[in-house]
């Protein structure tokens, strides 16, 4: 991306923060969301975040689907998910997931060279 495009992205991201976080503060007392829309809103963020995580865990650099034991990101991601459900602590989960990921990565390096 060109320099100016990155800055344009930063500006629209700032705009999205302002709209979602401050919108209700500015005009909220004048609107009420229909219940159906509120229901949709409830599920959208989880779906969006899952849609961001899944390709990073599963796709290789060339865009090919990579399921199985030789994919360190997928295994580390699953391990981290289990760890978070158990401990409910983001910081510990990130450290744990990175440890698993790094270990698998190094082991795979050894495996490839052996």
């Amino acid at each position: 991306m060109a320099e100016w495009e990155i800055w344009a992205v930063i500006v629209v991201l700032a705009l999205s923060t302002a709209i979602t976080r401050s919108g209700f503060w500015l005009i909220g007392h004048r609107v009420t969301l229909p219940p159906r829309v509120q229901d949709m809103l409830r599920y959208a963020p989880a779906c969006a975040l899952a849609a961001i995580i899944a390709p990073d865990l599963v796709l290789g650099s060339g865009g090919q689907v990579h399921l199985g034991l030789s994919n360190p990101k997928l295994l580390a991601g699953i391990a981290a998910l289990g760890f978070y459900v158990w401990r409910k602590n983001m910081l510990q989960t990130i450290v744990f997931g990175m440890l698993v990921f790094t270990l698998l990565r190094i082991l795979h390096v050894f495996g490839a060279s052996a």
Binding site: S16, T17, A46, A51, I53, L59, M98
Partner: protein
């Protein structure tokens, strides 16, 4: 001349600074600051690892101040997605804030619009939750704003310190360590609490695979397609569960 405006005058009385409540807000927020800083660190590292310059990453953290939306935008920037797709994605990722701000905003309708814009902007998910535990109803209570300030300003500072540390430390860390992956793990951690019920689980289980299968869509539209597929799945699951409940209940 200069007759006192009755509305702003009463607001000033309600929102006179209350040091005790400010300190209480600070004390409530302190335990979370380390985690916020660490998450900021991860996002800071991820931004420079994506190829943003230190200046761009600093601009992003200071202006955007929304970690999950920032992390979501990074792969889209790498893939040269159109700006409107990045905007739409950020809106969707940030939608949870609409609900949080809808809960918090009624407490502060009397403030001038600039302050409402500011406090809305810097009230993230954690601080909103902590504020609502202390003040569950929107009834006007003196010192509410002081309590909110005690929560949000340290929270903002912890995030920015962590993020800036990540930006300037991140470039010193070798790429093959894969620290950008920490960003994905952070998103994983915010996703889990959002899976509040079985319909939400259905949505997530549909959105993930659809995002993988639709990865080759032009303009990165696969992501938005996955969100829609996931939402439809969640709504369908919800109505099926409700019908079943009505039949057996």
């Amino acid at each position: 001349m200069n007759a006192p405006d009755p509305v702003s005058h009463s607001a000033a009385v309600v929102e006179r600074h209350d040091p005790a409540l400010w300190r209480e807000g600070l004390r409530t927020g302190v335990p979370s600051l380390f985690g916020i800083g660490a998450w900021g660190l991860v996002v800071g590292i991820a931004m420079v690892k994506t190829g943003l310059t230190a200046l761009q990453a600093t601009g992003m953290t200071l202006l955007v101040f929304a970690g999950s939306a920032q992390l979501a935008s990074l792969p889209l920037i790498l893939a040269h997605a159109p700006i409107w797709v990045i905007f739409a994605t950020a809106l969707v990722v940030n939608l949870r804030f609409v609900i949080f701000s809808a809960l918090l905003a009624p407490h502060f309708t009397h403030l001038p619009w600039r302050q409402r814009l500011l406090y809305g902007y810097i009230a993230g998910d954690l601080t909103v939750a902590m504020f609502l535990q202390r003040f569950p109803t929107a009834a006007p209570v003196p010192g509410k704003l002081s309590y909110l300030k005690g929560l949000v300003f340290p929270n903002w500072a912890a995030w920015q310190i962590g993020s800036l540390t990540g930006i300037f430390l991140g470039s010193a860390i070798p790429t093959e360590w894969g620290l950008g992956f920490a960003g994905t793990l952070a998103i994983l951690c915010i996703t889990v609490p959002l899976v509040v019920n079985r319909p939400a689980l259905c949505g997530v289980l549909v959105a993930g695979p659809v995002a993988v299968l639709a990865n080759g869509f032009p303009y990165k539209l696969g992501l938005l397609a996955a969100v829609f597929a996931g939402m439809l799945a969640a709504m369908t699951a919800e109505s099926i569960l409700e019908k079943r409940k009505a039949r057996h209940g």
